[in-house]
């Protein structure tokens, strides 16, 4: 486990050693607040909750997370440092896990930095902080889901632009699977199918958690999604380390 920890620390530090961290955090915070206050009508709704804030997270992550995850493996491959990393006495899954956890911790930091809006809503009214806490958990889990998909895609190619585009498309499909307008189009199909498709989507589970109920099924969904992606990630690296 100490190797996972070593890789985790190195990766997390490297975000802050380059402009990536600061650009990502600033853009995320600006975009999140702008969407909340303009399109989300934070004030006009006159309600002491953060619905108009969290509702945008899955859409923001759709763009921002692939930009973060595209470099995870593609860059290692391109610079050749993958050869160094994978000839250390560690298992491939440890490297995959260490890098993923670092990226996830980094997005969690970015998400946590939105705390002023939580202070604001508490100052303005008397929100249910349990729901807000659950929504933060949901948001972090959703970001983790996107990251796992992006990490897998990044292992397939050494071209970061391709990694970005493909992860964005894959995440978009996973997002739409739980998006109501899409589900309405599918309404002609038997309900079992519609439910099955909806249950594969990020939105379904994110929305369910952000209502304040942390259901085991939603946690299992994210755990399975991340586990499957990272497992596939390990296999992909094993098969095509050098190409």
């Amino acid at each position: 486990m100490s190797s996972v920890a070593a890789i985790f620390r190195r990766e997390l530090a490297s975000y802050f050693a380059t402009p990536i961290a600061y650009v990502f955090i600033v853009i995320f915070l600006v975009a999140a607040s702008w969407l909340t206050f303009s399109f989300g009508s934070f004030y006009e709704r006159g309600q002491a909750d953060l619905n108009s804030f969290f509702t945008w997270h899955p859409w923001l992550f759709l763009i921002l997370v692939p930009a973060l995850s595209m470099r995870l493996w593609a860059e290692e491959r391109k610079s050749g440092s993958i050869e160094l990393l994978l000839t250390l006495p560690i298992e491939i899954w440890q490297a995959v896990l260490g890098k993923f956890l670092a990226a996830w911790a980094f997005t969690a930091i970015a998400i946590a930095l939105t705390f002023p809006i939580w202070i604001t809503v508490n100052y303005l009214g008397d929100p249910d902080n349990g729901i807000i806490f659950a929504a933060y958990i949901g948001s972090i889990l959703t970001a983790g889901g996107y990251l796992a998909v992006g990490s897998l895609v990044s292992a397939v190619t050494k071209n970061q632009v391709i990694a970005f585009v493909i992860s964005l498309m894959a995440s978009f499909v996973l997002l739409l699977a739980g998006f109501e307008p899409v589900l309405n189009v599918l309404a002609g199909l038997p309900q079992v199918f519609v439910d099955a498709i909806a249950s594969l989507g990020f939105l379904t589970h994110f929305q369910s958690i952000s209502k304040g109920v942390i259901d085991v099924r939603d946690l299992v969904y994210f755990a399975l999604l991340m586990g499957a992606c990272l497992y596939a990630n390990t296999i992909v690296l094993q098969l095509k380390k050098a190409d």
Partner: protein
């Protein structure tokens, strides 16, 4: 010990490494020689556990690099081609990361890292990011990473590439100092490096071993081995001298460099023409500007063994 049994690596239709088998014992410094694309890097990547072979197996200190990879890698230090690292890190943070990932305990880590910084003269650049370092320093950071855990086996892919002559000398000194109780495999296309540090050389081309010998043994294969070259002070004597030398029974043939007037006399099989030529020069009263015995030329052996192969 490193043992390779029938290593083969196939890339589509290209067979980069073709049924290679060899063993390397402690104390050996093995130079891997070959034209570009001969399969040197691929072989090293397989032995270092980065690439799986298509068939065959490699054992490092008795551990199979595929099925017992982690155990094997613990005993192995590897400098990949081009000495890749993480450009945004400083040498200090990079080497601390490698030490931690290798599971070195913190108290041991500090002491060992200080030794390594001194050994590779990295103290001056420890806090600078790696992408701002010169090629020589980058290479030394790569070497530091490879020898950090004092491994039993060292695999160095072109360790002196891009270094200036002083730095090359230092790296070779370092390799020589570590050599007695380690197994070291280096790849290079610099023949002088083989002479300087290796006690065994394998020449490969198109994925196959073409020669496996000591550097002296390889030199002995050269037609220049035991040849004598001489230069006369008076150029007008060259033609007559050449004729006289060709008349000796120890001499197979001669060549004259038309620019310098240097005569090279190649020995007849199993003969040493130096003494005969020396006494001939005495009796003929040639004024010699130069006379010396050739030990053999590795570059010539390399060319004849690889058949001028470029791929």
């Amino acid at each position: 010990m490193i043992e390779c049994h029938g290593l083969t690596k196939q890339y589509g239709r290209l067979r980069a490494v073709d049924d290679l088998s060899f063993r390397v014992q402690p104390g050996e410094v093995l130079g891997f020689l070959g034209p570009n694309g001969a399969g040197k890097t691929t072989t090293m990547r397989i032995v270092a556990g980065f690439l799986p072979p298509t068939s065959g197996r490699a054992l490092v200190c008795g551990f199979d690099i595929e099925s017992q990879g982690t155990e094997a890698k613990r005993r192995l230090g590897y400098l990949p081609e081009g000495a890749p690292s993480y450009p945004e890190m400083t040498p200090r943070s990079f080497l601390e990361f490698v030490a931690a990932a290798r599971g070195m305990r913190p108290e041991k880590r500090r002491q060992r890292l200080d030794e390594i910084y001194a050994l590779l003269h990295l103290e001056r650049v420890l806090e600078q990011t790696i992408d701002t370092l010169s090629k020589g320093y980058k290479r030394r950071v790569g070497l530091a990473q490879a020898i950090l855990h004092d491994p039993e086996v060292l695999i160095l892919d072109e360790p002196t590439d891009g270094l200036d002559p002083n730095q090359k000398h230092e790296v070779r000194e370092l390799i020589r100092r570590m050599a007695p109780n380690k197994i070291i495999v280096i790849s290079t296309h610099l023949l002088e490096e083989v002479e300087a540090v290796c006690n065994r050389a394998i020449i490969i081309a198109r994925g196959k071993i073409l020669a496996d010998d000591t550097p002296h043994g390889l030199e002995a294969r050269s037609r220049f081995h035991n040849a004598v070259s001489l230069k006369l002070a008076k150029p007008d004597q060259v033609a007559a001298a050449r004729k006289a030398i060709e008349g000796l029974k120890e001499v197979e043939s001669t060549e004259v460099d038309s620019n310098t007037g240097r005569i090279t006399a190649f020995p007849a099989r199993g003969k040493l023409p130096l003494a005969a030529i020396n006494s001939l020069a005495d009796t003929q009263r040639w004024e010699l500007a130069e006379l010396h015995l050739e030990s053999g030329r590795l570059d010539e052996v390399f060319r004849s063994v690889t058949g001028g192969a470029t791929a």
